[in-house]
Symmetry: C2
Subunit: 336 residues, 2 copies
């Protein structure tokens, strides 16, 4: 029951990866031909390599001419109506599909979402949300905003608490997700003015199960379901976790390569190490979603491999089936 | 040639650890009795356990009555003149010593420093600076501000670039330290207004070797000598690295304990793993320093063990010998 538009272009690896992921998705899930459908947007070459699926009734191929550059000025990207991104956005809106996935420029996708797909009525600012691994097996935490905004008011932060709760509830079937506010200390009066005010707003919103402030060192502990952050700090947080994982794994690799004894240890650990890397791999998450606009907008990692892009398609399908956008609209109408 | 005041109290483990560290320091370095000296401040019990060194000509023991609580309101801590912290600050100033070390409340130490030790003339805002490990063997990066401030203006950020450069130059003997600005993207126009303006100020300051913006994922890469950040983001950064290291090492431990084969691997890796943990251990750094006030103020970790506190004493001695405060004063007088 999910209708998905996919921008085949963009992404560091071009359309090859996105097409492989789509084929793998179509081969691995049971398509409901009456309800599921896909619009795939790309250049001639991309569409040609989809010839084996082009006659399926649930697939529509749409041609685009250009590709938005990764470092483009987002406003000028909006003007290039023949880019795969803007053609995909137009198809999404004209055909009233549920979701769009792109691995292209984050800035262009966010700007196109805000100006064309538009905010849900009542949403102050959309936020980028993603799922994070934690110390606890199978326990996930979601965090927003990860950088759609540079600064956020207290009211915007408090609303991220609500949006994050709805997302967590649908994605992980948790009735009352535990919400925390990223801050420089756990005490109620910590942080900049917007954090202090947001703390009070979150505490007093009956739709939100707010627990309190959380520091950077505790976000991955598994205690939180939803972590609210201003966009700048959230961006710093996310990129810092990436850099730190890289530091630790590079030091570990050095340790393993340092002697014959440790190389043997490395071999014995090999399969476990791959599992371990999988747990820390953002590719298993499927990218980030812009929550608060009228469609499900998924930003797949620019460096997406097939697996990452496949996760993005699954995420779009899952959230589309669960009617995320409608749920946000309902919840915003409830009194707080 | 370094005169150090040490607050023996505070810290999660009480005076036992700090005293052990001092004894170990006195036993491991060559004291220059004409130039080196120590004022050690603590309660009766702490001073009693220092009886073996109390007659040394270069040691003065001073009694304090109370201890500042870790979660104290910093301004009220200033009023408790009999606390080990406030007695230590008084001894520092009355005797014109070079540096002070405390493992107690960060807030109280910072507040006492700003109100009693006072900013160096020309310093807009002092900043907390510390040394970080990187992917590159033996290569260190320093970062400031880590949380002495909640927000910083462009001018304050630019001055952190200068203060950080002076620190790095003295600590690591690098003539032109490479300075970066922590931001949400590498492009010049990224960030909030204060980051955009700071970028330009840093670029145009001839005393600073400014390279550009840096993202959270690159801070630990070893490319930067000095990373400038506003206090809120710096605090998020530092705590996030701690939390992520904990996540990765906890997953690694799970991997090692999962089977006999991996347990054997764990044994083979054991000594390398300790080396590896050492590299990531903030205890080897000696804590953070408040740069920009008229004395060397070192905040040892609250959870300091003997080794961590020993590093803090070595750091105080090193920066005192190298006349950090005087160097800052000189550099501020140069034209930019």
């Amino acid at each position: 029951m999910s209708k998905i538009v996919i921008d085949l272009m963009g992404g560091d690896a071009g359309s090859e990866i996105t097409i492989k992921a789509i084929k793998s998705y179509l081969n691995s899930v049971k398509i409901d031909e009456n309800n599921d459908s896909f619009i795939l947007v790309g250049d001639n070459k991309a569409l040609e390599s989809l010839s084996e699926v082009k006659d399926k009734p649930y697939i529509k191929l749409v041609k685009s001419k250009t590709v938005v550059a990764m470092d483009v000025d987002p406003m000028s990207a909006l003007k290039d109506k023949e880019s795969s991104l803007m053609v995909a956005v137009k198809e999404l809106l004209d055909n009233d599909y549920d979701s769009i996935i792109s691995a292209g420029s984050t800035g262009a996708l966010l700007t196109a979402s805000i100006f064309k797909i538009k905010r849900i009525e009542g949403v102050k600012r959309p936020g980028l949300i993603t799922t994070l691994p934690t110390y606890i097996e199978n326990k996930k935490t979601v965090m927003l905003d990860l950088g759609a905004n540079l600064e956020n008011t207290a009211e915007e932060l408090a609303q991220f608490g609500l949006l994050g709760s709805i997302y967590y509830n649908l994605a992980f079937n948790e009735a009352k997700p535990k919400v925390f506010l990223l801050n420089n200390g756990t005490e109620e009066e910590k942080g900049r003015n917007e954090h202090k005010e947001a703390h009070q707003l979150l505490k007093n919103d009956s739709r939100i199960n707010f627990v309190g402030n959380i520091e950077g060192r505790e976000v991955l502990s598994g205690n939180a379901d939803v972590v609210v952050s201003d966009g700048f700090s959230g961006n710093i947080f996310l990129k810092t976790t990436e850099g730190t994982v890289k530091l630790v794994t590079s030091l570990l690799k050095d340790a393993i390569y340092s002697s014959t004894k440790t190389k043997i240890a490395g071999l014995l650990l090999k399969s476990k190490m791959s599992e371990f890397k999988e747990k820390l791999n953002y590719k298993n998450i499927g990218g980030a979603m812009l929550i608060g606009v009228n469609k499900i907008v998924i930003k797949a990692h620019g460096s997406s491999d097939e697996k990452a892009f496949l996760s993005a398609i699954k995420l779009a399908n899952d959230l589309g089936n669960k009617k995320l956008v409608e749920k946000v609209k309902e919840k915003l109408k409830e009194n707080n």
